[in-house]
């Protein structure tokens, strides 16, 4: 087996750090983890061959510390660094710092990140490369009156977007002229606080837009291939919740056209590694370039599942080692259907408030066609400092209906105690008629919100009441039993205590 590196540092945490290290283990590559103080007991630290403290809880002082990460990589003897997603994964300064230190970044060149990182510059470059983009301003607009005039000229509704943005921050939909001024100021304020850059540009808002993205792989020798699309229109506040492939609206012909455009986009910026080209698709199935994510995506497993188990992380590592891509476009033929649900430590009943805390018990689902990428275990405390996504659950089947049924079945098996999660809510989303039909767009969760909330009500309330009463009864009875033992006997022999409790018909 090819092994371009002997040791890799993974500059991330949680499920994605574990995901990357799994491939490293398969390839016989040793792994180095970094951790912040609250992550000392995290799964990625336990899984890694070596682990070093990078700083205190706040990301800014730990997982975003370029200098410390470079220092740890050098001291540990790692030759390459995998950034995962989020944190420093799309930061060109990180790419340059690694290069200066003689380390290899498992990702694209800093120049590609920069070209795609600034959204208006990326748009210009895509237009020049002949890639279709959503109608909008080529440059950010400074003046509010000018911006309003432009919005009028393309017609409402419009989207305001941060030039330096991504991930839904600084993004506003504006339906009417009256709503424009406050939205304009809000978007600029949010852009400034999220990206230290308040420049905003305007795009035409597409009717019933769908969010479809194409996975690409590019080596350093000029080969660029695509591995089909992922449908990511199930979003809550611009955050993806459920992704599937193939998209219900993409056929072979459209896939080939989108794939070709994605390859063109990657070539235009000299892309190397695994990347994702995001498109908006309108109601007439016209597609427009939205942005390119210059890293591994959260939802990459569903692409792996329908492409004969191709391992995107393995290809990333081989490409970073200078290897030529062993895959050819003609060989790529996705089969079956795969779907992913993101498991969050959050409470859908309480406005999706994060629910950090101790996981007292966890039972992962299994069985046919199931893949779990998890970053947690029984007894671990979900820290309050980071993104509340704790796992990804994926299902594959020969067709869409089977894949959805499997995902629902696996969600019903997934038992996480101690903290509230969105698992029950995800099952209600899967059951929505609009989702089942496949005819949904990015407005789906907003429209279905109330129907989903209503279907969350009721359920097995009588079971909950019986359980609570038995738990209270049991607690009081055990307290009563304990108080009948003398302290010496209690502390003297737990086995004796256990025996006596057992004769009373009750475990400890």
């Amino acid at each position: 087996m090819k092994r371009p590196f002997k040791k890799i540092l993974v500059a991330n945490r949680g499920e994605i750090a574990v995901r990357v290290m799994r491939t490293c283990r398969e390839m016989g590559i040793r792994t180095v983890a970094i951790y912040s103080d609250p992550d000392r007991a995290s799964l990625h630290v336990r899984y890694a061959g070596e682990a070093y403290r990078v700083g205190p809880a706040p990301s800014r002082e730990s997982y975003l510390r370029i200098d410390k990460i470079v220092e740890i990589a050098r001291a540990s003897g790692a030759e390459a660094v995998h950034p995962g997603y989020g944190f420093l994964s799309e930061n060109p300064d990180f790419a340059r710092a690694l290069e200066e230190a003689g380390l290899v970044l498992i990702g694209p060149p800093a120049e590609s990140m920069e070209a795609m990182g600034e959204k208006t510059r990326a748009r210009r470059q895509m237009i020049a490369a002949g890639v279709p983009v959503v109608p909008g301003t080529e440059d950010p607009i400074e003046d509010e009156a000018q911006a309003l005039e432009y919005a009028r000229s393309i017609g409402f509704p419009v989207m305001l977007k941060a030039a330096a943005g991504g991930g839904g921050k600084g993004m506003r939909k504006v339906d009417t002229e009256e709503a424009f001024p406050s939205a304009w100021r809000g978007a600029r304020r949010e852009a400034a606080s999220s990206f230290s850059d308040d420049r905003v540009y305007i795009e035409k808002f597409l009717d019933k837009p769908r969010h479809v993205e194409i996975q690409v792989l590019a080596d350093a020798h000029g080969t660029v291939i695509h591995l089909g699309e992922r449908e990511c229109s199930v979003q809550r506040r611009h955050q993806k919740v459920i992704e599937e492939t193939p998209s219900p609206i993409v056929d072979a012909e459209m896939r080939a056209r989108m794939g070709e455009v994605a390859r063109q986009a990657a070539r235009a910026v000299g892309y190397v590694g695994a990347g994702t080209v995001e498109f908006l698709v309108d109601a007439d199935r016209n597609f427009y370039f939205l942005e390119m994510n210059t890293r591994l995506q959260v939802e990459h497993p569903i692409t792996e599942m329908v492409n004969d188990g191709v391992d995107l992380v393995r290809h990333q590592i081989l490409i970073a080692g200078g290897e030529k891509l062993s895959l050819q476009q003609e060989e790529i033929a996705p089969r079956g259907h795969a779907i992913e649900a993101r498991i969050y430590a959050e409470d859908p009943d309480r406005n999706f408030m994060p629910t950090p805390g101790a996981i007292t018990y966890i039972r992962q689902p299994g069985g046919p066609g199931i893949r779990v990428d998890s970053g947690v275990y029984s007894g671990w405390t979900v820290p309050m400092y980071y993104d509340p996504m704790i796992a990804k659950l994926c299902a594959r089947g020969p067709d869409r209906e089977t894949a959805i049924a499997r995902l629902d079945r696996a969600l019903s098996e997934y038992l996480i105690a101690g903290i509230t999660t969105n698992i029950g809510w995800l099952r209600r989303v899967l059951a929505q008629p609009q989702f089942v039909s496949g005819d949904y767009d990015t407005g789906f969760l907003d429209q279905a919100q109330e129907a989903i909330a209503a279907s969350m009500k009721g359920g097995k309330e009588e079971v909950a009441l019986i359980a609570a009463a038995i738990a209270s009864y049991d607690r009081q009875r055990r307290l009563a039993v304990r108080s009948t033992f003398s302290p010496s006997e209690h502390s003297g022999s737990k086995w004796k205590l256990l025996g006596r409790l057992r004769t009373l018909g009750r475990g400890v």
Binding site: N351, A417, G424
Partner: protein, 165 residues
């Protein structure tokens, strides 16, 4: 042993007896035979009239119960404590209520002003934590007595934000 469970306006009477092996539970007049096993991690395996459930019960009086992907929250008291509570009058969300930050974060928006009257469950303040914005709601209907923070302020977990009376 008799229990009373309440959530909102609804009240349920639950009677529990245990014969050393099985429970007999009478819920609102309906009798059930229950085989209950407490397993690792506080999970109960319940066989209620033969139907199998896995249930996670947390808390003592204010309980959170998770069953088949749904979360139920209520207050459950045994008869003796119930009488004590009734006598002391400290039963419902009466008197002064403090809306607290559930975790460290940043106050993004304050949705009410001092002196405003609010409905129960009405949003009063938005706190950003774990990269998410969370709307905190009034625990009861009343008047906003005081607001302890300003928009943009960083707050610790459990910090008092808004007082409603």
């Amino acid at each position: 042993m008799r229990f009373t469970a309440t959530h909102g306006e609804a009240t349920h009477e639950i009677d529990v007896t245990f014969d050393g092996e099985r429970y007999t539970v009478t819920l609102d007049g309906q009798k059930h035979e229950v085989d209950a096993l407490l397993l690792e991690g506080n999970i109960w395996s319940l066989l209620i009239d033969g139907k199998s459930y896995e249930v996670d019960v947390e808390g003592e009086e204010e309980v959170t119960v998770r069953v088949r992907g749904r979360v139920h929250r209520f207050r459950i008291l045994d008869e003796r404590r119930m009488r004590m509570r009734m006598a002391s009058g400290a039963f419902s969300a009466e008197g002064k209520q403090v809306v607290r930050a559930p975790m460290p974060g940043k106050v993004v928006k304050i949705l009410v002003r001092e002196g405003d009257s609010v409905e129960a469950e009405q949003g009063v303040v938005v706190v950003e934590a774990m990269k998410m914005e969370n709307e905190l709601r009034a625990p009861k209907a009343g008047t906003v007595k005081s607001i302890a923070v300003e928009e943009g302020a960083l707050v610790e977990g459990q910090a008092a934000l808004v007082v409603i009376e």
